[in-house]
């Protein structure tokens, strides 16, 4: 007996730290930031400026180290080999100097600078992982078989980290304007992003649930963060109550699937479903339904969308940008991983449900948006209709469909951050001035901002030469390839209905005669916010005209379940 016990293997999973690096950077970044800020509450202004300036070069170093740790063949390393070490390190110093200057001209706060630096380091790690590990050896598992690193999870991680960087730039000026400054928002955002990364790579339903809760709870608090706005409190509470409710659905669904298949691990489930024919699959079907409800809530699919307009309208505008980009991307990543990849063999069972969900989401998102008078609320409905479009890609349940989901997620992230970035600027002190009347005459007051907003809105409407159009093109292509013609046509028709709403916003900006607006003091746009909007704009137009690179990225971003070997 005793001998038998001794031979029992100690069940510790293999951990591939490099594969976990993006997640670790985000998580550790959050912890370090909150610890540092709990020790040093407030620095004297002049010292803070110096410290912030240092963050620039430190970020460059962080990106260099993160990239070097995650993979060997990072582009930078090959540059080093080409130009020789001395020249390379001098160049690195120059870049660090430029970064310091850049941070200085951006007039950014310490917390935002650190957050952006953490996000950029995470992106660098993702890039290195993609370039080295993933392309040479293919997808692999990072912690036992619990967390997968594949093209799909890497791209979604990159999307989430990009959202962190851009939203940090938006938050900086916003928090100062609303007199809410402090590290809390940034810490929560980094934590939430870490949760999103876990969701994107989760190979186990329990890990997925962990990621989802980390992501969600942080966002609940972020939504309620504007202490002087009752709408913000209401949004936080509403989001929390409904979100907790949907988490229960998800958990119940996980339990059902466990009951039906005997495992919560996606790889085991897939192997089980491939090898065993279930005589009575009622339990599994119930699990599908409950999982779909739980994840449908996160991505704001109708009929689980009812929280969206209120929460989007009430929550601080930069937080909405984060919710609509990172949270949605993580939600869709989980949806693809669980349904398309794991339950792919049962697609004929869940496809009709997703079909109906997509159709309903498209109709609700576009039709109900038409009667709104508030731009934030309009964009909330429009985000519902975009979720419908992505569901069309999920419904295809094909490589084409998954690629289109990835493309849409990448494109929409920058679109929506740009859109809410503009709203952040124009909403004015108190974050209230977002009705159509407030936007009246924006083109006369702030022509560049109005032009940027117009481009974002037209891109959301699916006008060509923007990423928004190519995203729709790919999704509809996937639907057509899967022979879902009517869904494709319905999606395009609802896009026309949505276009009406975007045109209403454009019209009020350009046709309006209001030369002044009490909420808009006409002050200069903060450079950090301008940078965030500018980056989003360049990506929206640039990859709209030359969509090839993102298209290739999306095609390579295939989700994989790697069986532990």
């Amino acid at each position: 007996m005793l001998a038998q016990i001794e031979t029992l293997p100690v069940n510790t999973p293999d951990v591939d730290w490099a594969g976990l690096l993006p997640l670790a950077i985000l998580g550790v970044g959050a912890v370090v930031l909150v610890m540092f800020r709990s020790v040093v509450k407030r620095l004297p202004a002049d010292i803070e400026t110096q410290v912030v300036t240092l963050v620039g070069p430190i970020t460059v170093l962080g990106m260099w180290v993160a990239g070097g740790y995650a993979g060997e063949n990072v582009p930078l390393a090959s540059v080093r080999d080409d130009v020789g070490e001395p020249a390379f390190y001098i160049g690195l110093l120059v870049v660090m100097g430029v970064a310091a200057l850049l941070v200085r001209t951006m007039q950014i706060g310490l917390d935002a600078a650190v957050t952006a630096g953490v996000g950029l380091s995470a992106i660098s790690a993702v890039w290195a992982l993609w370039d080295d590990r993933f392309t040479s050896t293919g997808p692999f598992n990072a912690i036992g078989d619990q967390f997968g690193v594949d093209g799909f999870s890497l791209v979604i991680t990159g999307v989430i980290a990009s959202a962190v960087v851009l939203v940090a730039f938006l938050l900086d000026d916003y928090l100062r304007r609303e007199e809410l400054d402090g590290p809390e928002m940034y810490v929560l955002m980094l934590l939430s992003a870490a949760g999103g990364v876990v969701m994107a790579g989760a190979n186990d339903l329990i890990v997925l649930f962990l990621g989802l809760e980390t992501l969600s709870i942080a966002v609940y608090v972020m939504a309620a963060m504007h202490v002087r706005r009752s709408e913000s409190q209401e949004a936080g509470l509403k989001y929390f109550v409904l979100g907790a409710f949907s988490s229960a659905f998800l958990l119940y669904g996980i339990a059902m699937v466990y009951g039906a298949t005997g495992s919560t691990n996606l790889i085991d489930i897939r192997i089980f479903l491939d090898s065993v024919v279930l005589v009575d699959d009622g339990l599994l079907m119930a699990g599908f339904a409950l999982l779909l409800v739980g994840l449908g809530f996160k991505v704001a699919a109708a009929p689980f969308h009812s929280w969206t307009p209120d929460v989007y309208q009430g929550a601080p505008t930069p937080v909405v940008a984060f919710m609509a980009s990172a949270v949605k991307a993580a939600g869709f990543a989980a949806l693809v991983r669980v349904f398309v990849v794991t339950f792919g063999g049962y697609s004929s069972d869940w496809q009709p449900a997703v079909y109906a969900l997509a159709l309903l989401t498209l109709v609700v998102g576009s039709v109900l948006a038409v009667v709104q008078r508030d731009a934030k609320r309009m964009l909330a409905y429009s985000s519902i209709s975009h979720a419908g479009f992505i569901l069309v890609g999920v419904q295809a349940s094909s490589p084409e469909g998954t690629a289109s989901v990835v493309f849409y997620a990448v494109a929409y992230t920058f679109l929506v951050i740009g859109s809410f970035g503009v709203l952040t600027v124009v909403s004015g002190r108190g974050d209230r001035a977002t009705s159509l009347d407030d936007l009246d005459g924006l083109a006369a007051r702030r022509p560049a901002l109005a032009l940027a907003f117009t481009i974002f809105l037209l891109a959301q409407a699916g006008v060509p030469l923007t990423t928004g159009f190519v995203a729709k093109f790919e999704v509809i292509g996937a639907a057509v390839e899967a022979r879902s013609y009517w869904l494709a046509i319905a999606a395009m028709v609802t896009a026309v209905v949505s276009a009406f709403l975007y045109l209403r916003i454009v019209l009020s900006m350009y046709m309006g005669t209001a030369a002044e607006n009490p909420a808009d003091d006409g002050s200069r746009i903060h450079p950090a916010a301008a940078l965030a909007i500018g980056v989003a704009l360049v990506i929206t137009l640039g990859f709209g005209i030359v969509p090839g690179p993102i298209d290739e990225l999306a095609r390579d971003a295939v989700p994989h379940l790697v069986a532990a070997g």
Binding site: L458, A461, V463, P464, L465, F469, V470, K472, F473, E474, I476, G477, V480, E481, Y485, A488, I489, M492, V493, A495, V496, A499, F500, L503, R504, L507, Y510, M511, V546, P547, G548, D551, E552, R555
Partner: protein
């Protein structure tokens, strides 16, 4: 397909790409120019559009007339490799004249009219519009075509919404949504064409027009459905009855340059689409649906003409006359014979010239009198004789007076339609009579009679305005008297299109007009022999 492309001329300068890109670069230049010197915007915009016009003229002269029906000056580059999408531009006899028309009309529209406000944005949008229109006529890739087809909405939307008159927000939104609604179906149709063709042929996914059209891999029913999705988009753009209702609103409320371009170039995007993407891609479906299209075209002719007669607003009258004219183009196109299609293309150019000129004249009238109500105008012939004379010539061209350009086009479309589908042509011909009625009646009310009040002191055409009108008048007379250079350049392409239809549709033969006999003896003999020999013909 490669043989077709290889036959293109050996021009090394990518002139077609330049035709599309130059206006966009021009728009960027305008945006970067300092706002402090507003008078320069118009000059720069004119210069750029003139360069584009010169390039299109160069293409016209370099175009090989006798060459086989292939695309010339082809530019080709990968755009999105993963989806088989390429930047493919080419020109043949069908698109040549529309490109020339676009190249010529834009500089004239720019030079003729001053922006009412914010000239920088105004001229930038016009240049973007020119790039989009050029792209539609040149695209040989379904994706590229759709991109250009859609992108023209944005500049036109802003032109109407910001520089229009009256209920411009309503008109602009209606225009945008109507057209986008049609395109929504076409996008699904384009994707279905590409994916299903790739599935049927087993080749890699491609959006190349020639490759898809030559493979003809789609099943008959599928092709018919997809043709309908294309047809809806084009019908909205043309516009065909009953999806024409955006047109009068857009025209009436648009600024003059917007109306000129809308009527002159943008309406042709739809009729050109029918030729290049409807009939060429889906010949069987085009033959199958030809009666439907002919019926809609004929209804458009009659409805547009009758509605035009009822109008009190001169600009709205011209707008409805467009609906009628476009009906002629449609019946010519769907006659599916050489006369009909050539007449249709010629009529596209004619309509661009004469209706563009009419909108310019109405715009000049509005600048002087600040009204377009026919009832408030009258007797203008006395104070403005030259204006009246120019208006008369343009109007007669629009009516289709022999010797002017309108006649040749209308006559050819009617002959073509008569040979193919007699009764539609008979009904449609009555549209010519009603056109004479409403235009002459309008002319009589506006220019004849006693001039009272402000009408008596109206300024005549200035020298610069006259210089703008001169090219229009020259084109009207030249194409009316000597249309051969125009027709002979389009003939090989039209013949090839018809041969393509005949080759791919069982039992379809071109109904040739020169086989018509005056009293149709064939038919009589046929009737007599019908009882004796029942199963003779098909």
């Amino acid at each position: 397909m490669h043989a077709l492309i290889a036959a293109s001329s050996g021009a090394t300068f990518p002139v077609l790409t330049a035709l599309v890109v130059t206006p966009i670069l021009g728009a960027v230049v305008l945006l970067l120019m300092p706002a402090s010197r507003p008078e320069h915007f118009k000059q720069v915009a004119f210069l750029i559009s003139a360069v584009v016009g010169a390039m299109s003229a160069w293409v016209m002269f370099e175009f090989e007339t006798g060459a086989a029906a292939s695309f010339q000056f082809v530019d080709r580059a990968d755009w999105i490799e993963g989806l088989g999408i390429s930047w493919a531009l080419g020109i043949d006899g069908i698109s040549l004249w529309l490109v020339v028309l676009t190249g010529a009309l834009f500089p004239l529209a720019i030079v003729a009219i001053n922006a009412e406000h914010t000239p920088k944005a105004y001229f930038s949008w016009i240049l973007v519009l020119e790039a989009g229109c050029m792209g539609v006529f040149l695209a040989l890739d379904l994706f590229a075509f759709f991109v250009f087809f859609e992108i023209v909405l944005v500049p036109m939307y802003f032109l109407i919404a910001q520089w229009g008159h009256g209920d411009r927000a309503y008109a602009a939104t209606k225009f945008f949504l109507y057209t986008m609604f049609g395109s929504a179906f076409m996008l699904v149709g384009i994707l279905a064409t590409a994916f299903l063709t790739a599935a049927e042929t087993g080749n890699a996914l491609t959006f190349d027009l020639v490759e898809i059209a030559e493979s003809q891999a789609l099943a008959t029913t599928t092709a018919r459905w997809i043709f309908l999705s294309f047809a809806l988009a084009f019908a909205v753009k043309v516009p065909l009855f009953p999806v024409h209702t955006w047109l009068p609103d857009a025209h009436t409320n648009a600024p003059t340059a917007g109306s000129v371009i809308l009527a002159g170039v943008m309406l042709k995007l739809g009729t050109y689409g029918f030729l290049r993407f409807g009939i060429y891609l889906f010949p069987e479906a085009a033959v199958y649906f030809a009666p439907l299209m002919l019926t809609l075209g004929t209804i458009g002719i009659l409805y547009g003409a009758i509605a035009a007669t009822m109008q009190r607003d001169l600009k709205r009258l011209v707008a409805y006359s467009s609906v009628a004219h476009l009906g002629f183009i449609i019946i010519g196109t769907f006659a599916l014979n050489t006369e009909g299609i050539e007449g249709g293309i010629l009529q596209m150019v004619n309509h661009g010239v004469s209706t563009g000129a009419l909108f310019l004249l109405v715009g000049m009238l509005y600048e002087r009198r600040h009204t377009r109500q026919i009832s408030e105008l009258g007797g203008l012939q006395k104070p403005a004789p030259i204006f009246a004379a120019v208006f008369m010539v343009v109007m007669l061209s629009s009516i289709g007076l022999p010797g002017l350009n309108g006649f040749v086009g209308e006559f050819l479309t009617l002959i073509g339609a008569f040979a193919a589908h007699r009764w539609w042509a008979v009904v449609a011909a009555s549209g010519v009579v009603i056109a004479a009625l409403y235009l002459l009646w309008a002319y009589q009310r506006v220019f004849h009679g006693p001039a009272e009040g402000e009408n008596a002191t109206m300024k005549d055409l200035t020298l610069s305005e006259g210089l703008v009108m001169l090219p229009f008048l020259a084109a009207i007379v030249f194409m009316g008297v000597y249309p051969k250079p125009v027709l002979e350049r389009m003939e090989p392409a039209v013949d090839a299109l018809i041969a393509h239809v005949e080759a791919n549709v069982d039992g379809f033969h071109e109904a040739e007009a020169d086989e018509l006999h005056p009293i149709e003896l064939d038919d009589l003999e046929h009737l007599e022999s019908d009882d004796a020999d029942h199963g003779e013909g098909e």
